[in-house]
């Protein structure tokens, strides 16, 4: 059995928070155009509340069994172990593509149209393979650096738009209907994937406190609210005419004669997607085969690359891989699956894991 290396839960939740925050960076007009700012905030609160509920099955499993769903399934009979492993492997591959495709699209259309999207993908996945082989501990260490860089970028993005803020009487209006509510809330449910990553890796973390996921989602909400606020009141109607409103926000940031911090924004988006995919590859490794780390990571990276290439040439495949409804349903099932671990645990009487330092 491989030696477990427990790591700080604060660092892990920080990495998950950064992964959740990156969702707003890749936003491509996913929110309803008819809804007001306050309505969007309400949708965001509802979405993030559901995201928190997705953490609960994994928290219960950790408290009652001291393990995560993947660890429990590996100690179960083959007829349980195999479907769980296949399901989570499919989920993590799908999620990785769900973020990879919009990112490469954005990079290609906004920053460097001269380069092939497949080349960007190859380079990004190459870095992710290295990080995933090193393990979650190393990826979360990278999160500390990313956190500081994200702080700097956000300060530049928001500070540079402060002078352009234009608050009107409509700032406090309430506008939106049931359809808008569903569309917006569905978008704000996207960070729920961090609950699944947590569900699969939480047995390896120590010093866990319940307030940590709450804080992670709270700060994610703050970041979303700030971005939405500045897009709405500093960029205004111009943002709705453009793809990727957050990118526009970074372009409109200006300090005196110095204008545009889109390079910072793209670097942040790149590093965030890199961290998400690395974390997901770590989860895949754990779901499939924990002892042959490198081989599993390379295998799944090739699968990712193949699926990406198919999506680049087949539009219907791309639509399936970036469909928010499929993603939400998939995430819901993956987040709820640890509940079955409680039953599995009772029946098979799996012993509580003892971490070695």
């Amino acid at each position: 059995m491989p030696i477990e290396t427990p790591f700080s839960s604060k660092r892990f939740l920080l990495a998950l928070m950064l992964a959740a925050c990156s969702v707003i960076l890749l936003q491509n007009n996913s929110l309803s155009k008819n809804s007001s700012f306050l309505f969007e905030l309400a949708c965001m609160a509802a979405g993030l509340l559901i995201c928190f509920l997705c953490f609960i099955p994994a928290l219960m499993l950790r408290k009652m069994r001291g393990a995560d769903i993947l660890r429990l399934s590996t100690r179960s009979p083959a007829f349980i172990k195999l479907p769980v492993a296949v399901f989570y492997a499919c989920y993590f591959v799908y999620t990785a593509l769900y973020f990879l495709i919009p990112y490469t699209d954005m990079f290609h259309s906004k920053y460097y149209p001269g380069v092939s999207p497949c080349l960007i993908t190859v380079v990004l996945l190459g870095c992710c393979v290295y990080a995933a082989v090193k393990g979650v501990n190393v990826v979360t260490r990278f999160g500390i650096f990313l956190f500081l860089f994200a702080m700097l970028t956000n300060i530049l993005m928001f500070g540079g738009n402060l002078t352009a803020l234009e608050l009107t009487a409509s700032s406090v209006s309430w506008q939106g209907n049931a359809g808008d509510f569903w569309q917006n809330t569905r978008y704000f449910l996207t960070p729920a994937f961090i609950a699944v990553v947590f569900a699969c890796l939480n047995a390896d973390i120590r010093n866990f406190r319940l307030r940590q996921p709450v804080c992670a989602l709270f700060f994610t909400g703050l970041k979303y609210a700030a971005v939405l606020f500045f897009i709405r009141f500093a960029v205004g109607a111009y943002a709705s005419r453009q793809e990727y409103p957050t990118f526009v926000l970074s372009r409109t940031a200006h300090f005196d004669r110095f204008a545009g911090v889109e390079s910072f924004y793209l670097a942040l988006a790149t590093m965030s997607v890199f961290m998400i995919i690395s974390l997901l590859l770590c989860c895949v490794t754990k779901a499939i085969d924990r002892e042959k780390n490198l081989r599993t990571v390379i295998l799944f990276t090739l699968i990712l690359l193949a699926a990406y290439t198919v999506s680049a040439y087949l539009h219907s495949a791309k639509e399936i891989l970036t469909n928010p409804n499929i993603f939400i349903i998939f995430t819901g099932i993956a987040a709820l699956l640890p509940l079955s671990g409680l039953i599995m645990g009772r029946k098979s009487n799996v012993p509580t894991l003892v971490h070695s330092m």
């Binding site: 109607a237 111009y238 453009q242 372009r251």
Partner: protein, 201 residues
């Protein structure tokens, strides 16, 4: 051994991904710094001014119905490597303002390569002539715009602000900058309405 291989691969990748293989000399890249729009014989004429280090501007004039058509014609017929991502100023003559505001601004707002904070101003015919003569005029216009903005923050001097005001469609209109030339360049406010233009000062 494995580490050495990784280092060699990383160095090779660093060299390959510099983008130098697809590079262009800055002189041949045709980076457009300013665009002026004027009306001549009833038709709109768009002049694309390239980024140059000299004092004399280098401009290509294209007659077209809209900015979209002008960009297309300019890149097809005159400037193959036209790049508008560094556009700093869109100078519009009084006569052309109506057409530009109605058709060109919505087009510019949908294009990812334009900077939303590029300056936009109206001007009189003499300023347009001055602009064609020397690059220094551009600097003077920018200085005047910044002064005006500092003096009156409600004046719209960039695309973003002008587009948002137009999209809001307020009846009372909104002020934009107007550059005029007497002995020297001066700036005034111009109240712009969705349907008609009225000079304020």
């Amino acid at each position: 051994m494995c580490r050495l291989l990784c280092i060699v691969c990383s160095m090779a990748l660093t060299l390959l991904l510099t983008g130098c293989s697809n590079s262009r000399q800055i002189e041949s890249a045709a980076i457009i710094e300013n665009v002026s729009v004027d009306r001549q014989d009833g038709r709109l004429v768009y002049t694309f001014y390239r980024l140059t280090s000299g004092d004399k501007p280098w401009g290509i004039s294209v007659s077209a119905e809209s900015f979209e058509e002008a960009c297309k014609r300019a890149s097809e017929e005159y400037i193959p490597n036209l790049s508008l991502s560094k556009l700093e100023l869109l100078l519009i003559s009084e006569d052309a303002a109506q057409a530009v505001m109605k058709t060109d601004l919505p087009y510019v707002a949908t294009q990812p390569f334009f900077s939303p904070v590029a300056y936009l101003t109206l001007c009189d015919d003499r300023t347009m002539e001055e602009f064609e003569k020397t690059n220094r005029t551009q600097q003077l216009i920018e200085q005047q715009l910044i002064l005006l903005k500092n003096h009156n923050p409600s004046v719209s001097i960039d695309y973003l602000s002008v587009f948002n005001h137009l999209a809001a469609g307020r009846e009372e209109g909104f002020p934009v900058a107007f550059i005029y030339s007497e002995k020297e360049l001066k700036v005034a406010e111009y109240r712009l309405y969705t349907k008609k233009l009225t000079k304020n000062n």
